[in-house]
């Protein structure tokens, strides 16, 4: 690594802001995020939202790819159990998420990197609070170096 590159790295280091990719379901969490916006509730701007039809649409590969492509953390949010637009999408997803989170931790990836939650369309405040918490936790553990693909 050349000196300028190293310097650049340290510069990046000091002004580092966590990048969080959030997968939100179309029917509850995305609307919840929207409500947070229209209600002018402040929350950190570190998140990039990807809208998915349902939390059941989320393949754990999406989360791994986000981390591989340089995300520092991933947030997944769907409807509360019982509220799924597709009746049971989130319930099927819940089993996958529970196992996947355990697996990542077992493999040695910080549990804070990948987080799951439920946010309904009326919970703008809850959405903001969750984002705040996730950003804070990821900031504490620092940049993601584990799964990132270095070209």
């Amino acid at each position: 690594m050349s000196e300028s590159q190293a310097a650049q790295e340290t510069a990046l280091e000091t002004s580092w802001e966590p990048k969080i990719v959030a997968f939100l379901c179309n029917w509850c969490s995305y609307a919840g995020a929207d409500l947070a916006g229209v209600s002018r509730i402040q929350y950190p701007h570190n998140i990039r939202i990807i809208r998915v039809p349902c939390s059941g649409r989320i393949n754990p590969v999406f989360l791994l790819r986000a981390l591989q492509d340089g995300a520092d953390g991933v947030l997944v949010s769907g409807c509360h159990p019982g509220d799924c637009h597709y009746i049971s999408g989130n319930l099927v997803a819940r089993r996958k998420f529970a196992l996947f989170k355990e697996l990542l931790q077992y493999a040695g990836i910080e549990p804070e990197r990948v987080q799951f939650t439920w946010v309904s369309a009326s919970e703008g405040g809850r959405f903001a609070a969750i984002v705040e918490k996730v950003v804070e936790e990821v900031r504490k553990i620092g940049p993601n170096r584990k799964l990132v693909k270095v070209p």
Partner: protein, 337 residues
């Protein structure tokens, strides 16, 4: 005459009978291989050749891996009605039977087209362990003695005795179901598992290490991976016609040996085995680099058992845990504000 010789004789008898009476079109078993510590899968269609069948401590291959493609639907659905799937008889150890049960549950194989010849298995020999035990000597031949240990013939025409428990495959040490749970014919008496908690202890040991130590260990192990896909190909549960790992539009998992791609490959492969792995150890045996391919899957199997009280391949009439859900499933992993 050892117990295995008796089983072998009865196996040939059974296979011959099944083929003669046309109860099966095809019989899958093992035959003597040209190299020691191995057997070759044998596809029998005629009762005259049953003498080729063998049963010994080297019958490691999980024959269930051949089943999905025998019953696969044709690419052209219009041809489906002209097709008559074969009836297949096959030799199965405890773990292999679990794979067949899981395949039946996943509608890959019809139960009525199978004749399951179960053999209670005391554990199969790991070829690599046996070769390592011989050191610089090369084995020219190997067979089982009356005590169930293995005698290897080495280059200077000497015989070396290899105790069974030292060369038995790692997956067999973890085995909880040595006797087939489901079978049409059972050869040999039931075998009791020696220790049901080996896998749990291995997982607990790995989990007791620090987070970063676990990551370092995983990276060291996986850095050996050459992405040959042997673990996937050898797995009886990996039957998808188009594997997610092969898809190119989009390419979800990079095909390189970059450590990031390799780690994701192994995480994804393990995750696809959640609630499906029947613990036969085919992936570990197939790995040319000696990677502990079961490290991650072992953990998932344990979680599935603890969270959803499910063990794959135990009974046909159960629902695999990731095809089901319950309102009261645990969700303490969620982030709350």
């Amino acid at each position: 005459m050892t117990a295995n010789h008796e089983i072998e004789a009865r196996l040939r008898e059974t296979a011959g009978e099944l083929l003669r009476q046309k109860r099966v079109d095809l019989f899958l078993g093992y035959e003597k291989a040209s190299l020691p510590f191995r057997t070759t899968p044998l596809f029998l269609t005629s009762p005259d050749e049953v003498e080729r069948l063998v049963w010994n401590p080297f019958c490691t291959v999980n024959l269930a891996v051949y089943l999905p493609r025998l019953f696969a639907a044709p690419a052209d659905p219009r041809k489906a009605k002209d097709l008559s799937p074969p009836t297949v008889g096959l030799v199965l150890k405890g773990c292999d039977t679990r794979s067949v049960v899981a395949l039946i549950q996943e509608r890959q194989v019809p139960r009525e087209k199978l004749v399951l010849v179960g053999v209670a298995c005391p554990g199969m020999v790991d070829r690599q362990k046996a070769e390592r035990a011989l050191g610089e000597h090369e084995a020219l031949g190997a067979e089982e003695d009356a005590q169930g240990n293995v005698r290897a013939m080495i280059d200077d025409e000497m015989e070396v005795a290899l105790p069974r428990e030292e060369i038995v495959s790692d997956a067999c040490l973890e085995c909880r179901f040595p006797t087939p749970l489901i079978h049409d014919v059972l050869l040999g008496g039931p075998v009791e598992p020696k220790d049901r908690d080996v896998a749990r202890r291995l997982t607990a040991e790995f989990e007791s290490r620090a987070l970063s130590a676990r990551w370092v260990h995983l990276q060291e192990t996986l850095s050996k991976c050459i992405r040959c896909n042997a673990c996937r190909q050898s797995c009886p549960m990996c039957y998808c016609k188009e594997c997610l790992l092969d898809q190119t539009r989009p390419r979800w998992v990079g095909a390189s040996t970059d450590i990031s791609d390799v780690t994701i490959y192994h995480l994804v492969r393990a995750f696809h085995m959640a609630g499906r792995c029947t613990e036969c150890g085919a992936c570990a045996r197939a790995c040319p680099m000696g990677i502990d391919t079961r490290l991650l899957v072992r953990k998932l199997s344990q979680d599935v058992e603890d969270l959803y009280q499910y063990r794959p391949g135990e009974a046909i009439d159960t629902t695999p845990p990731l095809s089901a859900f319950a309102m009261e499933d645990p969700q303490d992993f969620l982030t709350e504000p």
